[in-house]
């Protein structure tokens, strides 16, 4: 005769055996462990490190000296201001060129649009330092002097695609009947653009602006290559200089961390101001 207590024990064991032994206690949520580890190691930890260095001096004790130093140094502040202005200008120029381009692309047949998009995208697959150097050669060829103008042209060239792509993806997704509805209600072509197309493509504009404005501020490789004798430099150069001296040794980690933190805050503020954190705008950009 079977022992009922023994039976129950057996069942419980089997249940445990099945769940533990064969699944190794594994469930779907455990798949996020590698990602969480990555996040802690390469995102959160470095960020905390930057904050730590910004608020300490060379000896490792707490100090706000580096902040005072940065905000009272006219050279550093003017570099920051110039960076912001240059980034604004480049963003604006990119927008002015990219918007009509994206509009034309969105009205093309899928096939032609794809070919044209590839013409914009393929150069992005080439290392951008290499691209900058090629551009420089081109400028020599057409006798364009190095300087502020050349820097801006080079920056616009480098970031234009990042503006076109989100704009294109927003415009292509836009319901064409909305423009027709506006036309139907008596709006002329200009009015249709200002009252329907433009406001509805705002997510694309913002997304594109973010993808141009912020990187331009730190893109010192281009400004270095094109500044010549009287050009400008961007804030990214300042950070690099603070961290890495001429022979690759750490120079002023704490000072550099402060500038990096200031940049970070500027990014957050601009994101927040343009509504970049709103969930409805998630994924508004497009992958290259």
């Amino acid at each position: 005769m079977k022992n009922p207590a023994k039976e129950i024990k057996r069942e419980a064991f089997e249940k445990e055996f099945k769940s533990k032994r064969f699944n190794f206690g594994f469930s779907r949520k455990h798949l996020c462990i590698p990602y969480a580890l990555f996040l802690v190691l390469f995102v959160i930890f470095p960020l905390l490190l930057v904050v730590f260095y910004a608020f300490t001096d060379a000896n490792g004790s707490f100090s706000v000296y580096n902040f005072i130093e940065f905000f009272s140094n006219p050279t550093k502040l003017s570099t920051l201001l110039i960076s912001v202005l240059v980034a604004l200008a480049v963003t604006l120029i990119c927008l002015i060129i990219a918007y009509p381009t994206a509009m034309i692309l969105s009205k093309m047949s899928k096939h032609t649009a794809f070919i044209c998009l590839m013409l914009f995208i393929t150069p992005m697959w080439i290392n951008f330092v290499l691209r900058a150097m090629a551009m420089k050669e081109l400028f020599y060829l057409i006798h364009l002097p190095m300087g502020s103008f050349a820097s801006i042209v080079a920056l616009v060239y480098d970031f234009l695609t990042f503006m076109i792509m989100p704009l294109y993806s927003t415009l292509i997704k836009m319901d064409k009947s909305l423009e027709e509805a506006a036309l139907d209600l008596g709006a002329n072509k200009v009015k249709v653009f200002t009252s329907v197309t433009l406001p509805l493509s705002m997510p694309g504009i913002l997304s594109g602006a973010m993808m141009v404005f912020l990187p331009v501020m730190s893109c010192y490789v281009i400004t270095d290559a094109f500044r010549g004798n009287n050009g400008f430099s961007v804030i990214g150069k300042l950070i690099a200089w603070n961290f890495v001296g001429e022979n690759g040794t750490l120079v002023n980690v704490n000072g550099g961390a402060v500038i990096a933190l200031v940049m970070l805050i500027i990014m957050f503020v601009s994101m927040w101001m343009t509504g970049g954190f709103k969930s409805e705008n998630a994924g508004r950009g497009t992958n290259l």
């Binding site: 909305l178 027709e180 509805a181 506006a182 036309l183 139907d184 008596g186 009015k191 406001p199």
Partner: protein, 504 residues
């Protein structure tokens, strides 16, 4: 109808729209709409109804032809210059504006002439925009019209489908257009809501008194709402008429089939006001030439079910479905199915008979372009149709296929298919049939029942005995009616298509 006295508001003359890829969406459309009329373009998807509407709205330009509004050519006028507003299929509400701003969109752009008097008493005419107060008043009125008072500040994204629909209608009618275009506006609503909106739209049409041009593929919707229906197919107008006309007097089998349930039989005129179909000579009211091949339309509700032996044609019920108000039954007569609607149910398998009154038989002449039959393939890879068996080329059913030694079909992909008993559609052209006195020579045998002289040739009809299958063809030779002949069709002239995919 009162409308018939009113003048034409819009007129389409010889309209053709050919797209860049060469497809013709609309061809040779001539029609006019009277002021205040509710007209519906009805047809299956791809029939050109929406394209026609878009040309009236101005989103599309006709390749050929003219569109006249009150007698003036507006073919090249952009949409914003036309006194016409549209309710779009998926509403096309502006997602970045609230309900009020959506409706006020057109009003804010509108300019009107205002007459002033200066100090000297001279009249000055100025063109001004509407004041905020005027706009608010009009929006309020429009919202009241569509039962959406109090929704002004709501975002359109928070509205239900029906409410969005109402906003779309309000946005269009607030501009007081001369013509309101509605492009399948109720397509996205559920059945109950759609029925309610149909009545509301009709009521709105009555109140506003403006011309409505409505596009739908739903025949019931068209019948319920319209003063006039334009039935379209493949870009060509099939029939224009009142709902009653279209329903009771369809011009061709397409219209008959599209508007409501109907039985369409192929028949032959056998005498003065006598038509033969489903094996019986019915009296009818339409006059056609004797022996002419015709399409016969009978509405299911017009067929009276009787006990066997009492009616004109006997048959057997093969299916019966309860549909709420009535039962929909299918009776089999020979090989033909007859759909009947009746409130009294007859059981499946019951022998019954039917009576069709002359008035309920609608006859339309048939354009005869080719002989069509249903057939099947035999073991010997011949085809049986029209009471006969013919040699045929079965490899045409699959491109690049061939027959192996055992008679199986090998497809281009190398699959082996047994075609025995596969149902096929058979088509034989009018010029591809020959007849012979030698009854052994052909695949089917029948009597010549009609010879019509067509100028340079004769058109003959040979009818078989068993199932009264007809072979229609042209010949240059003279024959006599009632000659007994056999039908010869060259192997390569028999066009076969699969009735349905073969399971491999």
């Amino acid at each position: 109808m009162a409308n018939e006295k009113k003048e034409k508001i819009i007129e389409l003359i010889g309209i053709k729209r050919e797209f860049e890829d060469g497809t013709v969406a609309v061809d040779n459309v001539d029609l006019y709409v009277r002021k205040g009329e509710f007209i519906t373009f009805l047809g299956p998807s791809g029939c050109g109804k929406t394209t026609t509407l878009r040309m009236i709205a101005g989103f599309d330009k006709p390749t050929e032809g003219k569109i006249l509004l009150n007698g003036e050519d507006i073919s090249n006028l952009p949409p914003n210059m036309r006194p016409i507003n549209t309710v779009f299929q998926r509403y096309a509400l502006f997602p970045h504006l609230n309900v009020y701003d959506n409706i006020a969109f057109g009003l804010k752009l509108k300019k009107q002439k205002v007459t002033y008097q200066d100090e000297n008493g001279n009249e000055i005419v100025k063109i001004e925009k509407l004041s905020k107060g005027e706009i608010a008043q009009k929006v309020e009125k429009a919202l009241k019209m569509v039962d959406l008072e109090g929704f002004e500040k709501r975002s359109v994204a928070t509205l239900s489908g029906g409410q969005q629909q109402r906003v779309a209608i309000a946005r269009a009618i607030v501009n007081e257009p001369k013509i309101l275009l509605l492009d399948e506006p109720l397509g996205a609503l559920d059945l109950k809501m759609r029925k309610d909106m149909q009545l509301e739209l009709k009521e709105m049409h009555r109140k506003l008194g403006i011309t409505f041009i409505y596009v739908t593929h739903d025949q019931e919707e068209a019948l319920t709402m319209s003063d006039t229906i334009v039935v379209m197919k493949d870009g060509v107008i099939q029939q224009i008429g009142t709902p009653t006309d279209i329903y009771n007097e369809p011009k061709n089998s397409f219209v008959a089939d599209f508007i409501g349930e109907s039985n369409i039989f192929s028949g032959t005129m056998v005498g003065d006001k006598k038509v033969r179909f489903i094996g019986y000579n019915f009296d009818c009211v339409d006059e056609f030439e004797k022996n002419e091949k015709v399409d016969v339309v009978v509405r299911p509700e017009d067929i009276f079910l009787m006990d066997a032996d009492k009616g004109q044609v006997k048959g057997k019920i093969i299916s019966s479905i309860f549909k709420g108000v009535h039962y929909e039954m299918v009776m089999l007569v020979g090989k033909t199915e007859v759909v009947i609607q009746d409130t009294v149910e007859r059981k499946v398998g019951e022998e019954v008979s039917i009576i069709i009154k002359p008035n309920d038989i609608h006859i339309m002449s048939k354009e005869f372009t080719s002989n069509k039959y249903l057939g099947y393939i035999t073991k010997k890879n011949t085809v049986v149709f029209g009471d006969g068996e013919f040699e045929c080329d079965v490899t045409q059913l699959y491109p690049n296929s061939f027959l192996d030694d055992e008679g199986y079909l090998i497809t281009a992909e190398g699959e082996k298919i047994d075609l025995t008993d596969v149902d096929v559609n058979v088509e034989v052209g009018l010029k591809d049939i020959e007849i012979s006195d030698d009854q052994e020579k052909g695949g089917a045998i029948g009597n010549i029942i009609s010879i019509i002289y067509k100028g340079d040739h004769y058109q003959l009809i040979v009818r078989t005995d068993e199932n009264e299958e007809d072979y229609v063809f042209d010949t240059e030779y003279t024959w006599n009616v009632n000659d007994r002949v056999s039908i010869i069709i060259p192997k390569e002239k028999i066009k076969l298509t699969l009735k349905q995919e073969i399971k491999k």
